[in-house]
Symmetry: C2
Subunit: 333 residues, 2 copies
């Protein structure tokens, strides 16, 4: 499906399904609203998917970045390829957490060993390539939704990609580079200062307009971010939940929401990371994270960790007794 066709398919959520879920939750044997945000979660998932079962897939997209030449990561670029093998071998954190959560894991190489252009010196890729990667992500989402997945987790790997996400966020929010650049996988203060400088140069050398999110993505984005933006759009078009992980995954989702604002309704934020840009991006998406456990690994790991919360929310909706069915006096009626 093309990008334009996909965007046209994204509709507002099913408000009636959400209202039915909330009314059903009020009949359950508990004080009204006493399960707090777990009830919001159940109602939101019901409104997105219209279903009470949750088959989930984590999609880890991996790519390399020309900007890694600017020493913006604590790790050398070869680690992207090494980690690709680790994902395929099942040994990475996201593999372990996806297994625990009963989620499928897909690993997609969208440019490992074939870095994008260095954004500090020029555009990352062409507009056509960005659009093609968006459509690859849309296609991946479509295949997963057709196969029964109702929750898609955008995960990522790519040495240097917090710098890329910082540049995208700085333009799209907008925000000063200082406000969106953090330690990534473990930079010291000098490293963070270098990253801020690189982002500033990227914004100066690339003439981008925040009203043109595809142009911003092409100039500043990594391939895995473009692919994941498409995955998120495809999730929204297919009425699947996009369960967002950390700063990079959420920034890819921000690009998707700028291309199709209604796509944000299908997103749920799994957690908030200590990366300073993450809270800003989640705010811009109107999302409140479920977990706040100082996770800063990426890969989709935090979203996989939060998946049992979604399953539990839906189990409450589907399986709890009502005041009537259990013969319990309902003081709140």
């Amino acid at each position: 499906m093309t990008l334009a066709e996909t965007i046209a398919l994204i509709e507002p959520l099913d408000a009636a399904a959400e209202a039915r879920a909330r009314a059903e939750l009020d009949r359950k044997t508990k004080p009204r609203r006493s399960l707090g945000r777990l009830e919001d979660l159940a109602a939101r998932v019901a409104a997105i998917t219209g279903e009470s079962s949750l088959s989930a897939a984590v999609v880890v997209a991996a790519g390399d970045h020309g900007v890694a030449a600017e020493s913006v990561s604590a790790y050398p670029q070869e680690v992207t390829r090494q980690m690709l093998a680790n994902f395929e071998g099942g040994g990475a954190a996201v593999c372990v957490l996806a297994r625990e959560a009963g989620a499928a894991l897909r690993v997609v190489d969208v440019g490992v060993g074939r870095p994008t252009g260095n954004i500090a010196a020029g555009p990352a890729m062409t507009r056509d390539e960005a659009e093609s990667l968006l459509e690859q992500g849309i296609g991946e989402a479509g295949a997963l939704v057709s196969g029964g997945s109702r929750v898609l987790v955008p995960g990522e790997m790519g040495i240097g990609n917090t710098t890329v996400a910082s540049a995208l966020a700085a333009v799209l929010l907008p925000a000063e580079p200082e406000a969106v650049c953090g330690r990534g996988t473990g930079l010291d203060d000098a490293g963070v200062a270098r990253k801020v400088d690189v982002v500033r140069r990227a914004l100066a050398v690339n003439d981008v307009d925040p009203r043109d999110p595809l142009g911003v993505l092409a100039a500043l984005g990594g391939r895995e971010l473009a692919f994941l933006s498409g995955l998120v759009l495809g999730a929204a078009a297919g009425r699947a939940v996009a369960l967002l992980d950390g700063f990079i995954s959420s920034t890819a989702a921000l690009v998707a929401a700028r291309l199709a604002p209604a796509a944000a309704d299908s997103m749920i934020a799994a957690h908030r990371s200590p990366e300073p840009g993450h809270a800003l991006v989640l705010d811009a998406l109107g999302l409140t994270p479920l977990l706040d456990l100082e996770l800063r690994l990426g890969e989709g790991s935090g979203a996989a960790l939060a998946l049992p919360l979604l399953r539990s929310a839906l189990a409450i909706l589907a399986d709890m007794a009502t005041f009537d069915s259990a013969g319990v006096t309902d003081a709140g009626r």
Copy 2:
């Protein structure tokens, strides 16, 4: 086992096991500490139990309270018995969440239909009865640990028991009644004011000394709280995790920690509820909650919801590849 024998068995945690777990986590294929509090959780569980598998049991203790006559709950006292049947039928929230988390559920009637004394007029029970209930809880924990459980969740049901917990917390923290009285299952402002007044009268009429936690428990405690204090002590003595739920379960744990301070090392706080006393009790126990989702149902529901986080933390420790095993360059070495 007697209370005194149990207290004597509770020892400091295994610091060597914790250090081994942290060193192993640093060898995993991720930046150091990038899984944040999930790493702390894995190390803590390893230090408590010395094991990497987690068989969990939720124990819901139910009792009635004389103080319910003071109109301190939105629900009539008959609801305690009705909910006991709902627990046994598997329809209550904690039943659903325990099933989702793969935890066993035990329901123990320690006084439904046989209310304690009204604490606003005199003591809830005798010192002997409180000690006997503590030892029943210790016995329950011992049986579960012998059966293989490594995580015990103290859950509760008892109309009026947030008032009882507020009185206990007011003495043991200590704190003003206003600081520990909240809406419970749904009181309005007048109801909360009534609850504060009841707690104030309970503290005036019962001459208690915070340095005598057993005496405080007998004067102000409900039977299910006494039983759960014993369960928590038994968990600590048996090197099992006590995974605390909300305000009531955590106040029972506070009584346990005042009887045996080292018992607090075996506790993990699953979540923070909006009950104002809960944060104070967790602070007094030195615990930081894992979840903050506005849950205020009790029953053990929030702890059951958090169980997958413990499982995931241990899976990271047990199953993730190391830099060496996966051939990934370790920049942090």
